[in-house]
């Protein structure tokens, strides 16, 4: 599979762009789902777009310094990079060269970027938020890594394109979710943690630390975070679809699957309070890890 440089460049531009647009839809879905469960109407269709345009049109009043700026760029940039590593129907970008492990690392960049940026603004709430975010990352990364390992083990590759191909060729029976249901379940936990939704929403926690990392973010910085959120939802759900639900045969299926997957954590998010940080770690290292290990064992004895 050789594509020209020009084509690659187009793909590299399109992939994040599509991700962004789909991500906005996902944000919209999230807010609409919340609204429905809260017995109300919810925001209009273009609301996520309005928010982002508005935030970027705000005057930048202050800067907390260069590192602060770089932090945001890292956060968004990390995700943009991640998008190019996530194969979607018709576009593989650099997924073949990157693979799962790279993606895993790239996906950590945003959190680190945020940590850098927030560290600059000397707001204790921000610092607490970041320390919580990193703790949470540590918590959900353990099951996540186990899941990754299981996936790599079962498919025999860390190349996402191949993972997709294997699943699509084998039909539904070859889907990760069918092959390794425990892994898929553990993956859901990790997904919930990755998205930072209740009950794992420890690092935003408005009532405790006033939205933590976002506390000093305004205007364009907050806009960056909003963009990041779009990417985050997209990346997490598409990654899950890729690993367990056979990727996207075409765009329609991909989106259907991705939205369906996303619906689970989102619905749960509106029905639970958040855990305390240490409870979160305890929980994450208990059930998903257990599930993952069982899954691993099962894979071995298959």
């Amino acid at each position: 599979m050789h594509i020209g440089l020009g084509e690659l460049l187009i793909e590299l531009t399109l992939m994040p762009l599509v991700a962004f647009i789909v991500g906005m839809l996902m944000v919209l879905m999230m807010r609409r789902v919340g609204a429905r469960l809260q017995r109300r109407v919810g925001p209009p269709f273009f609301q996520p777009l309005y928010d982002i345009i508005k935030l970027h049109s705000k005057e930048t009043q202050i800067s907390h310094g260069l590192i602060h700026d770089i932090g945001i760029i890292m956060a968004v940039g990390g995700y943009i990079a991640a998008e190019t590593l996530l194969p979607v129907p018709g576009m593989n970008g650099i997924a073949e060269k990157g693979g799962l492990i790279t993606l895993l690392y790239v996906m950590m960049i945003p959190s680190l970027g945020l940590a850098l940026g927030v560290g600059q603004c000397a707001n204790p709430n921000g610092s607490i938020g970041i320390s919580r975010a990193l703790t949470a990352m540590l918590a959900y990364d353990i099951p996540f890594v186990i899941v990754m390992a299981g996936v790599a083990f079962i498919y025999g590759t860390t190349n996402l394109v191949e993972v997709i191909n294997i699943q699509q060729e084998g039909g539904i029976a070859a889907w990760g979710a069918v092959q390794m249901p425990f892994m898929a379940l553990a993956g859901l936990f990790a997904l919930q943690g990755m998205l930072g939704k209740q009950p794992f929403e420890v690092y935003v926690a408005p009532a405790e630390i006033a939205t933590g990392p976002m506390v000093e973010m305004g205007g364009k910085y907050l806009g960056g975070l909003f963009v990041m959120q779009c990417f985050q939802l997209y990346t997490a759900s598409v990654l899950y679809v890729t690993l367990f639900l056979g990727g996207g045969e075409n765009w329609l299926f991909l989106l259907l699957k991705a939205f369906a997957v996303l619906l689970i954590p989102i619905s749960i998010a509106f029905l639970f309070p958040r855990f305390k940080t240490d409870d979160l770690v305890r929980l994450m290292w208990k059930w998903p890890v257990l599930l993952g290990l069982i899954g691993l064992v099962l894979i071995n004895y298959r």
Binding site: A35, R36, L37, Q38, R39, R40, V41, S267, I268, L271, F272
Partner: protein
């Protein structure tokens, strides 16, 4: 009953709950949102929204302003609105500052007229530069000229205005009809305080009163049980406190804003309470505090010791002028003494008033008829200014056939005789022509005399007016009827029937209309409806006039007259610069008007004296 009874504690503290239970809420995906439409809903029926004010009902009393706890109400003069102080209507309207208002609706609850209410409109937003819109003059149309309906309004439930005045204890008709004792007892302290507490201090009474008495202030003082202050406030404008506290025509009560929907404050009775509650000496002390002890060297003569004359004398004496009052009869007081029956105004109370005036330095010469005992010319020479306050001491005649019979008498004359304690022939039956207060006075006085003498009352009052337009006070009419006087409205006297030189009756016809289209007096009778009232005596009480003989021909020629009354300017000054005239003779019968005149005259005379002094100095 409810499920709360059956399961007292349906959630156990010790249970660990469930992770799945919350998922049941996913069923809300299938349920409709409860969100309302974006457009504001219609508020509840008694919602407390922005104010509306019925300008027709509003009288500008500013009670809302007083009860407003946030000082949110400003009274604004609206020239396009009616101003009628006599009926207690001002052209002030409340303007609300919504930067203060808290929509508590106390203004509504306490509004005496019920004009102000709150609407169901509740949305008002504005930009900074439109902030003036927060200051609103509520009219009936609502804040944005859109009708949202009335919200919180005045109902019986939330009305805070006390509509009922304290009942004045008075004698029963049986116990009063055979003597001249005073009818009303006056308020006791508790009653007075309660009655005074009803006042909302609007000051309508002050505006309506001819002499602008400080009624709100003295009512307030009575309420706070500071009688001395009350008396001080009363004497600021009225030296005839006792008199006015009893027999005033109380324009104030007509204007009273509480009276718009309920019974007005009994302002007259409160005044009476205040002056009665304080000893005479105390009153003197209070009143004489501001008498100027220095003599100005000016002399003033006042002819007639009625309210107008004595008020002028009192004012001028307080300023240090030397005032002499000439009274033809043997006691001072004028019409209040000789025209008002004892049961309405006991003489000792009038004497109290006059004593206070005397104590201010006024000299009263009784039994001195100007024109007989001393001439006007002499007075003019001795004094720098002369006031004529002669009163109305001659009764008018109906001039119907037979009215010159000796048993056809004038009410004033008769009243004067009764007051002076002269013996009169009490007729067994009497007919009275006239429907004013004087007619009632004479009717009731005669009734008492009849009761004393014969044990029964036989008096008929025939008045031309119908009851709706009666001239006498309704209470007077009611009380007279209670005492056995028969009052016949709409009867026009036609003839005093004389048989063999003796008066036997009065023939009257039913009156269809009194005035013609131009408003002139031209009665129209129903010839078929004729009654003959049998009577021994007929009393004419259809009006009075002044005896102006003392002026002398020359002066009478010089002065200007209109319809038999002496013409004066707004300061009660005649065309002669040394001569003033005041009181009933220029104004018509009314005590408080006479007092008001007295003040006007005293001011005018004082001005005049000042100019004289200037001239003296310069010359």
């Amino acid at each position: 009953m409810s499920s709360a009874d059956t399961k007292k504690k349906d959630i156990d503290y010790n249970s660990n709950g469930s992770v799945l239970n919350p998922l049941k809420a996913l069923s809300f995906f299938a349920k409709k949102p409860v969100t309302e439409k974006l457009e504001p809903r219609i508020a509840a029926e008694r919602y407390r929204g922005f104010h509306v004010n019925d300008w027709e009902k509003c009288i500008g009393c500013s009670t809302c302003q007083k009860v407003c706890d946030n000082a949110a109400i400003t009274m604004v003069k609206v020239p396009s609105q009616k101003e009628d102080p006599l009926n207690g209507i001002r052209n002030l309207r409340p303007a609300i500052d919504y930067g203060r208002c808290c929509w508590c609706a106390l203004c509504v609850d306490l509004c005496p007229t019920g004009s102000i209410s709150l609407s169901r409109e509740y949305v008002h937003t504005c930009y900074d530069e439109q902030l003036d819109s927060y200051f609103l003059l509520p009219d009936p149309n609502g804040m944005h000229n859109k009708d949202y309906g009335e919200g919180w309004n005045k109902t019986e439930e939330n009305d805070l205005v006390d509509h009922n005045r304290q009942v004045m204890p008075e004698r029963t008709p049986e116990s009063r009809s055979d003597n001249f004792d005073e009818i009303v007892d006056g308020y006791d302290k508790q009653q007075a305080i309660i009655e005074a507490s009803r006042c909302v201090q609007c000051g309508m009474c002050h505006d309506a009163c001819p002499t602008h008495m400080h009624a709100p202030e003295y009512i307030r003082a009575i309420w706070s049980d500071d009688i001395e202050d009350a008396v001080r406030q009363i004497y600021r404008t009225n030296p005839f406190a006792h008199t006015c506290g009893r027999v005033c025509t109380h324009r104030c009560e007509t204007a009273c804003s509480i009276g718009k929907r309920g019974e007005p404050i009994a302002i007259r009775w409160l005044k009476r309470y205040a002056v009665d509650a304080l000893s005479h000496d105390k009153i003197k002390d209070i009143v004489l505090g501001d008498v100027n002890p220095e003599s100005s060297g000016f002399n003033i003569a006042v002819i007639g010791s009625g309210p107008a004359g004595l008020t002028t004398a009192f004012d001028l004496a307080k300023l240090g002028h030397k005032v002499t009052v000439y009274e033809g009869l043997d006691k001072p007081g004028g019409m209040p003494r000789y025209g008002i029956p004892y049961y309405r105004l006991p003489f000792d109370k009038l004497d109290d008033d006059i004593n206070v005036i005397k104590a201010a330095g006024v000299k009263i010469k009784c039994n001195t008829w100007v024109g007989k005992d001393i001439t006007l010319e002499q007075l003019k020479k001795k004094n720098h200014a002369v006031l004529l306050s002669l009163g109305l001491q001659l009764g008018r005649s109906t001039r119907i056939p037979g009215s010159d019979h000796k048993h056809v008498q004038k009410a004033v004359t008769l009243l004067q005789k009764i007051a002076a304690g002269e013996k009169i022939d009490v007729p067994k039956t009497a007919a009275i022509i006239g429907g004013g207060n004087v007619a009632m006075d004479i009717a009731r006085s005669l009734a008492r005399l009849q009761k004393q003498k014969f044990g029964e009352v036989n008096i008929t009052v025939t008045a031309m007016e119908s009851f709706e337009h009666f001239l006498a006070d309704p209470e007077e009419v009611k009380e007279a009827q209670e005492e056995g006087v028969i009052i016949l409205p709409s009867r026009g006297p036609q003839e005093c029937m004389i048989e063999k030189g003796a008066l036997v009756g009065l023939r009257t016809l039913k009156v269809l209309s009194i005035f013609d289209e131009q408003g002139r007096f031209a009665p129209h009778f129903d010839e078929n409806d004729e009654i003959c009232h049998e009577c021994e005596t007929i009393v004419e009480a259809i009006g009075q006039m002044t005896d102006v003989d003392l002026l002398g021909e020359e002066l009478t020629e010089k002065l200007e007259w209109q319809r038999g009354r002496l013409q004066v300017d707004e300061n009660c000054r005649t065309s002669e610069d040394w001569l003033w005239a005041a009181g009933d003779m220029v104004r018509g019968p009314d005590v408080v008007h006479a007092v008001a005149d007295g003040h006007t005259v005293s001011k005018s005379i004082n001005e005049y004296l000042k100019t004289l002094q200037m001239e003296k100095k310069s010359s």
